[in-house]
Structure formats: structure tokens, C-alpha cells
């Protein structure tokens, strides 16, 4: 057979395979997109199952959140949005909102007030970082370390700045392969005051200072891009210390019993929540809004914390956080928001990153490639 023919035939095959999953929306079905794994499982247990029982609506769980931004844009351009609700990080929610791909919401009418009557806007407070964003959880990027590799006679690492201390804590470290959080940590640990981190990062000198600090550990650092990687490296003893999402670390330490400890100092808070795609038909929109009203009320957000160690985004949910559904342990001490864990924290400055991300990302990748 001629080469071109084979190539064409293969392409045609791949295409038909892609067409098979067209939009087959039923009247009482809803497609909710999330991250998969333990996180989706916690949402299914805490939100989807009780809601399906209550209303009889069938929820289809799609695990495409990692490519949600691009897919939503493609769907919107094709004029066929097949998703009803999408779980994204706050930074992506801002981008989707800016692009007009997500629906703006009104906390007063779209979200339930707290049981004591506090309005949703006050209950969520600062977490409402974008007009389109419906906050769900607070998670943090923090550090885990191998408890069995801590050198004798020194204290265990306590947080971000120990990553830069190669003398006390030799060994490989792992950091996220993008500038967010790494640049802030580099400056904080180089002595820049917390209030001045972002104004410093706006200047060329400030960026050079951050890169210089990161240079000191570059040779000993592995860079992760999938959030399971740092956990696997820690579990295999491939690295001594790694930045990772606190829920993943919790699962490795408590559920999988790995010799890993948490170092919370200067953890970076981040938010995750829902966005409603723009351009839904009225009946679908009404159904989604009903779900959102239910799934983000005070009790539901507190329920999710039974399954995963992410803090509820509502202030009124915090006192209701109880014990792990299977293990029976108290969840509060494992939450990023627990006062003893949250001595020094910083919140990812979304608006600042929306302005500087493209530029710093190019510089960061160029620095990595050198």
C-alpha cells in the first residue's frame, strides 16, 4: 500500500472515533466537570449523590477539568456547549470570565445564605475573586518531606524557606514547573517583606532577585507538572522535599501511611470552585442554578471535608467540619486553614498574576531551559 493512502485512512479512522461522543443531552441529565480522583469522589459523595436522591436528576461526572479552559473556548466557538457546570481553579475562572466564556453570577440570588442569615456575599467574603466564580474549597500548595531522610540532630523542615537551605537539608527537592508560588517563595525566603512581594516582582530587579534565589537550588530540583508527581517522588524517596497540594499530601500520609511529614510555613492558599458556562439554554441554566444553590450551601461544603482535607470556602461551614468518613480521624488539624498550620500564609494574588503571567511564564521557561 502507498504511504499516503495509509496515512489518510488512519486519519479518517481517528476522526470518526472522535465524532462518536456527540451531544446527547437528556431532559433530566446534567454534565458536571471536575478533576477526577479523590477530589471528584468527595464531590460525588457530598453533593451529587444527595442531590440526585433529592431531585431525581441524573448527574454525569466528566473528568476534564485539567483541559476545561481550552475545551470551553472550543465549545463556545462551535456554538455547542455540552457541559452544565465546571470545576476550575480561581485563576482559570478569572480567565474564563474575561473571555466571556463563563456566566456572571449574583451571590444574592444564586447562592444560599448561611443558616444564621448572613448573606452569601459576606459568608464567602474575599473568596469571591471573580464575578463568575462560585468558590467551593480552599486548598494550599505546601511542602512535604521524607521523615526518614531528615539529617540527624536538626529539626524537621517547617516550610518553604527550608527548600532553599541546602546546607541543613541536603538532597533533591521538587517544585511546580511554573512561576506561580515559586517566585513568591524565592523572594519571601530572600528577605523581602510579605507586603512587598508583588510590587518587587513587578520590577526587573525583583524578578532577577527571585531567579537568583531559585538558581541556588536549580541543580538539585526536579520540576513537576502533574500534581501526582511530587507525591510519587516523595513516596519513592526520589526527593527529600517537594511542593504539593495539601490534599494529595494528606492522602499519602494518612490514607497510604507513607513516611512523609508536612511543612506548612508560607503555604500558598488557592481556591477552587464552580463556573457556569456562558450560553446555556434557559432550562439547563435553571437546573444548574438549582444544583449550585444546593451544592454550595453551608452544610454541603462542610460535608465535602469528610472525604478530603480541603477547607470549605464558607466561613459558616468551618465549625461544622467533622471527622473523616472512613478513617474517623478529626479533619480540622489537616486543614490548611487550621490556625496552627496557617501561621504564615499567603494568598495567590490572582489579579496580579492575570497581568504578569504571560511575561513571567516566558521568562521562567527560558530560565528553566538554560
Amino acid at each position: 500500500m502507498k504511504l499516503t493512502k495509509t496515512l489518510l485512512a488512519t486519519t479518517a479512522l481517528a476522526m470518526t472515533a472522535g465524532v462518536a461522543g456527540a451531544d446527547g443531552h437528556m431532559a433530566d441529565e446534567m454534565t458536571i466537570v471536575s478533576w477526577g480522583g479523590a477530589y471528584s469522589a468527595s464531590q460525588i459523595k457530598a453533593y451529587h449523590e444527595p442531590y440526585m436522591e433529592k431531585t431525581g436528576i441524573k448527574i454525569i461526572n466528566d473528568e476534564s477539568s485539567s483541559e476545561a479552559v481550552a475545551k470551553l473556548r472550543a465549545m463556545s466557538e462551535a456554538g455547542n456547549v455540552t457541559w452544565d457546570l465546571v470545576d476550575v481553579e480561581a485563576a482559570d475562572a478569572i480567565r474564563l470570565c474575561d473571555e466571556g466564556l463563563a456566566l456572571e453570577i449574583d451571590p444574592a440570588t444564586d447562592l444560599a445564605p448561611a443558616p444564621d442569615g448572613t448573606s452569601a456575599a459576606d459568608d464567602f467574603g474575599d473568596m469571591l475573586v471573580s464575578d463568575c466564580f462560585i468558590p467551593q474549597i480552599v486548598f494550599s500548595t505546601t511542602f512535604g518531606y521524607r521523615t526518614d531522610q531528615v539529617p540527624e540532630g536538626v529539626d524537621a523542615p517547617s516550610g518553604a524557606c527550608d527548600v532553599f537551605d541546602l546546607e541543613t537539608y541536603p538532597g533533591k527537592r521538587a517544585l511546580n514547573k511554573n512561576p506561580i508560588a515559586n517566585m513568591e517563595w524565592a523572594l519571601l525566603c530572600d528577605g523581602v517583606a510579605y507586603e512587598e512581594v508583588y510590587t518587587t516582582l513587578e520590577t526587573e530587579e525583583g524578578q532577577a532577585q527571585a531567579f537568583a534565589k531559585l538558581d541556588t537550588i536549580k541543580a538539585d530540583t526536579l520540576w513537576w507538572s502533574a500534581s501526582a508527581e511530587p507525591i510519587q517522588w516523595l513516596a519513592d524517596g526520589e526527593v527529600f522535599m517537594a511542593s504539593a497540594y495539601n490534599g494529595r499530601l494528606f492522602s499519602a500520609i494518612v490514607e497510604k501511611d507513607q513516611p512523609i511529614g508536612m511543612a506548612w510555613n508560607w503555604q500558598m492558599f488557592d481556591l477552587d470552585g464552580w463556573v457556569i458556562p456562558a450560553g446555556l439554554a434557559d432550562d439547563r441554566l435553571a437546573r444548574v442554578k438549582d444544583y449550585v444553590m444546593y451544592a454550595t450551601d453551608t452544610q454541603r461544603l462542610a460535608d465535602q471535608a469528610k472525604y478530603i482535607s480541603y477547607g470549605p470556602a464558607r466561613a459558616s461551614s468551618a465549625p461544622l467540619v467533622s471527622t473523616h468518613a472512613d478513617l474517623g480521624i478529626e479533619m480540622a488539624p489537616h486543614m490548611p486553614t487550621e490556625p496552627s498550620n496557617a501561621e504564615n500564609t499567603f494568598v495567590n494574588n490572582y489579579m496580579w498574576w492575570a497581568d504578569y503571567r504571560d511575561d513571567l511564564d516566558a521568562k521562567f521557561q527560558a530560565w528553566l531551559a538554560k
Binding site: 500500500m1 502507498k2 504511504l3 495509509t6 489518510l8 486519519t11 479518517a12 476522526m15 485539567s66 483541559e67 479552559v69 481550552a70 473556548r73 480567565r95 470570565c97 474575561d98 473571555e99 466571556g100 533533591k172 514547573k177 513587578e202 526536579l222 520540576w223 507538572s225 502533574a226 508527581e229 510519587q232 517522588w233 519513592d236 524517596g237 526520589e238 489579579m351 492575570a354 497581568d355 504578569y356 503571567r357 504571560d358 511575561d359 511564564d361 516566558a362 521568562k363 521557561q365 527560558a366 530560565w367 528553566l368 531551559a369
Partner: protein, 426 residues
């Protein structure tokens, strides 16, 4: 004799129906061509609609830049009068036009999109438009002027001439900006120049992608050739069994295979553990075989190897054994018989396999992302990043267009040097 001479003298040769043979032949040929075209028409249409048009549309984004004109039509016109090199802020008419444009843009929620677009060119414009949008929403166009001071009161960046230079520079419908960015260049007031060194990344990545894809293709030939030879020369029963072993990894998920390489190659992995246990490697100096270029080459060679073995195998199967025996009976050594008789006949298989492996390798991104660390990632990783994370589809399209052009040029060169007719899949 007289008969033949009479024919020679007559005009054009006639067909049986009396029409000139030439016309008749041409008509028959044309009919044949149309029939052939009709037969392939469904496939042609299918390829055109599902393949060429979407790719063309995507590539068009690399130069398309209508968003500025569409969102700020009056401002763009008003700015034509303004001298961007004077270093001053435009006057009230431009701000009035901006207020009118923004009012509409805010109602249609397109101002933030424009902000994102212009932020590629200048940091901070994204929040400038988002913030200004909230302010403009409350204004009354008829009574609230003049707007210059009002805009500057909203955000003092409006008093920065640089913002206006950026808007004016990006107002044409088409832009070379994405392509320039894709080769580490930029437009500055002094013309086209290289980007600052700390932002240069794409040319490095293009070179690396080509080099490493060639190395992967090379190692696939080295590993695949002997295997294909054994497969082609074993009795059918054993050959089939071995073939299953070749195909088995082919049917395993890409991610599983990539993760398996992590387990094998990492510093605390199986191979290092074994080497330390034997005593070949010191425990303190374990080999670094993953999260670098080596890791990418090993993992991708493994993943793409079947694409080399299969065409090689099917070509080798068609080479009769008798040729080798004949060569030897004529006095050739084993090596001469292989090199002068067998190898030249297997070249079409190498050609087909190499093209398949190289073209697949050049577009890979999941494997390099997972095992490539910082020195083993490809240009496709950046394209994927701009498609799915930064949403800078213009830049992604420009990078993709360059990659496509590079592949086509290489394909052309291959055709000139080796000849594409010399490629066989079996």
C-alpha cells in the same frame, strides 16, 4: 501500396465514429478522470471538511488580529491623528471615543477579552481594562465628559503613553506579532528586534525538538532493524509469537508505559537499585536517566519502536531469501551479501518507518512532559500550554504553523534526496 499512400495524405486520424481520434481520446480520458474524481469525492470532501479547513482556520489565528478594531472602532480611528512617537498622551477626542467604545464593549462584555489580548504585548493592560470597565459602566456618555481626566482618575496607567502606543501598534487587522514571538523576536519602536535574552525560548525548543526527534528516529532504526530481520526470517509460528510481543506494548496505554519508565529509570528506581546492588554504581552517585533528555529519548524510542518495526518487517518479508543465497554462491562474504544485496532492498522500509516515527515524535508532548524534566521537553509542550492554559491561541497557531512548515520542508528534502516513491509500507 496505393491504399497506404492515400491514408498518409489525409488530415487528422479519424476514430470509428468519424470524429478525429485526438478529440475522441481526450474525451474518453476526461470522462475517466471525472469518474475517478467522483469516486474519491466523498473522501476528498471528508478530508477537506474535517481536516484541512479546521487546520487552516486554526493556522489563520496566527496572523488574525481584528479584536482591537472590532472592540474599539472609534478609538482606532481617533488614534490615527495621534503621533505615537511624540511621547505624549492623546487628547480628549481619543478619550471620548474610548469612552463610547468601552460603553458598548462593557455591555457586550468584550472589553476584558481585548485586555487579555493586549496584555500579551504589555503587562498590566488586562487589569487596566477590567478595572476601567467597572468604572465606565456607571458613566453617562452625554453628560459626564470630558473623559480624559475621568479615565486617568480610574487608573493612572491611562496617562502612560506606552499604553496608547500598544493600542495603536496593534490596531491593524493582521499582525506579524505572534510569528515574531514564535521565533523570539518582537516589534519595537525601532523595528523588528530580538527579544531580551531572558525571554528567548522558542528557537531553542524548535532546535531541540528536531534534534531529539532525529535521535529517536535513529535509535528506532538501530533497535528495530535487527528485530524486523529476525521476524521476517523466522518460521511463521515463532514470528507470530514475537510479533505479539512487539504489538503488546503498542496496545498498552501511553501513560502506563511512560509511568513504567519512571519506575525503571528514576534514581531510586529498579535499574539504579540493581546497579548499586551489583556494585557497578556507588549509592551516592546514582545515574540520572530520567527528567532530562535521556529520559525522553529512551521512553519515546520505546513508544515509537513498533512504528519502525512494522513497515520494516513487511518490506523485509517481500525480499526473497534466494537473493542472499545467490550472492553467497557467487562468492560474496556474509557482510557483502547483506550490505550490497539485502540492505538496499530494505531501504523503502527504513524510509517509511523513519517518516512515521519522525513525524509522530515531533508532535509528542505527554511523554516529554512526564519524563523530560526541563532539558527534554519539546516545542509541542509549549503549544499545548498556550492552547489549554494561557489561551494564547494566536501564539500556539504560529508555533504550530512553523512546526508544520518545518515538517513539510523536511519531507520535501527527503523526497529530493531519497525519493518518496522509494517508501513502502509493505
Amino acid at each position: 501500396m496505393t491504399d497506404t499512400t492515400a491514408h498518409d495524405n489525409s488530415g487528422p486520424v479519424l476514430a470509428a465514429d468519424g470524429k478525429p481520434l485526438k478529440v475522441s481520446l481526450a474525451r474518453a480520458l476526461r470522462r475517466q478522470k471525472i469518474r475517478a474524481l467522483l469516486l474519491i469525492a466523498p473522501l476528498l470532501l471528508f478530508v477537506l471538511i474535517t481536516f484541512i479547513v479546521p487546520i487552516g482556520d486554526m493556522l489563520f489565528r496566527s496572523v488574525e488580529n481584528q479584536i482591537v478594531q472590532e472592540t474599539l472602532p472609534k478609538t482606532v480611528v481617533a488614534l490615527q491623528e495621534w503621533d505615537s512617537e511624540a511621547g505624549t498622551v492623546p487628547e480628549e477626542p481619543v478619550f471620548a471615543a474610548l469612552a463610547a467604545d468601552m460603553k458598548i464593549a462593557v455591555a457586550e462584555k468584550t472589553h476584558t477579552r481585548l485586555g487579555t489580548r493586549l496584555n500579551y504585548e504589555m503587562n498590566g493592560i488586562s487589569s487596566l481594562f477590567r478595572k476601567s470597565g467597572r468604572g465606565v459602566k456607571k458613566w453617562d456618555l452625554a453628560n459626564d465628559g470630558p473623559f480624559k481626566d475621568k479615565f486617568i482618575a480610574l487608573d493612572k496607567k491611562w496617562a502612560d503613553p506606552e499604553v496608547w502606543v500598544t493600542i495603536k501598534a496593534n490596531s491593524p487587522k493582521y499582525t506579524p506579532g505572534y510569528f515574531l514571538n514564535a521565533v523570539d523576536m518582537q516589534v519595537s519602536p525601532d523595528g523588528i528586534e530580538a527579544r531580551p535574552e531572558n525571554q528567548q525560548i522558542y528557537v531553542t525548543l524548535f532546535k531541540r525538538t528536531l534534534m531529539m526527534s532525529l535521535m529517536i528516529t535513529g535509535s528506532c532504526i538501530l533497535l528495530g532493524y535487527p528485530i524486523a530481520w529476525i521476524l521476517a526470517n523466522l518460521p511463521m509460528r515463532q514470528a507470530n509469537l514475537l510479533m505479539i510481543l512487539v504489538l503488546l506494548p503498542f496496545w498498552t496505554s501511553l501513560l502506563v508505559r511512560t509511568s513504567a519508565w519512571k519506575v525503571l529509570l528514576q534514581q531510586q528506581g529498579v535499574i539504579n537499585d540493581l546497579l548499586v546492588w551489583i556494585g557497578l554504581v556507588d549509592d551516592a552517585n546514582r545515574l540520572v536517566m530520567i527528567n532530562n533528555a535521556t529520559g525522553t529519548i529512551i521512553a519515546m524510542t520505546h513508544i515509537l519502536l513498533p512504528f519502525m518495526i512494522l513497515p520494516l518487517y513487511s518490506v523485509m518479508q517481500t525480499i526473497p531469501e534466494t537473493y542472499l543465497r545467490a550472492a553467497k554462491s557467487l562468492g560474496a562474504t556474509n557482510w557483502t551479501a547483506f550490505w550490497r544485496v539485502y540492505f538496499p532492498q530494505s531501504i523503502p522500509g527504513i524510509g517509511a518507518g523513519s517518516i512515521l516515527v519522525f513525524i509522530l515524535a515531533i508532535g509528542y508532548y505527554i511523554t516529554p512532559e512526564l519524563v523530560g524534566g526541563t532539558k527534554g521537553v519539546f516545542i509541542s509542550n509549549r503549544i499545548a500550554f498556550h492552547i489549554s492554559t494561557s489561551l494564547n491561541w494566536g501564539l500556539a497557531a504560529a508555533l504550530g504553523a512553523i512546526l508544520l512548515a518545518a515538517v513539510l520542508i523536511l519531507y520535501y528534502a527527503y523526497d529530493k534526496i531519497v525519493g518518496i516513491d522509494n517508501v513502502k509500507l509493505g
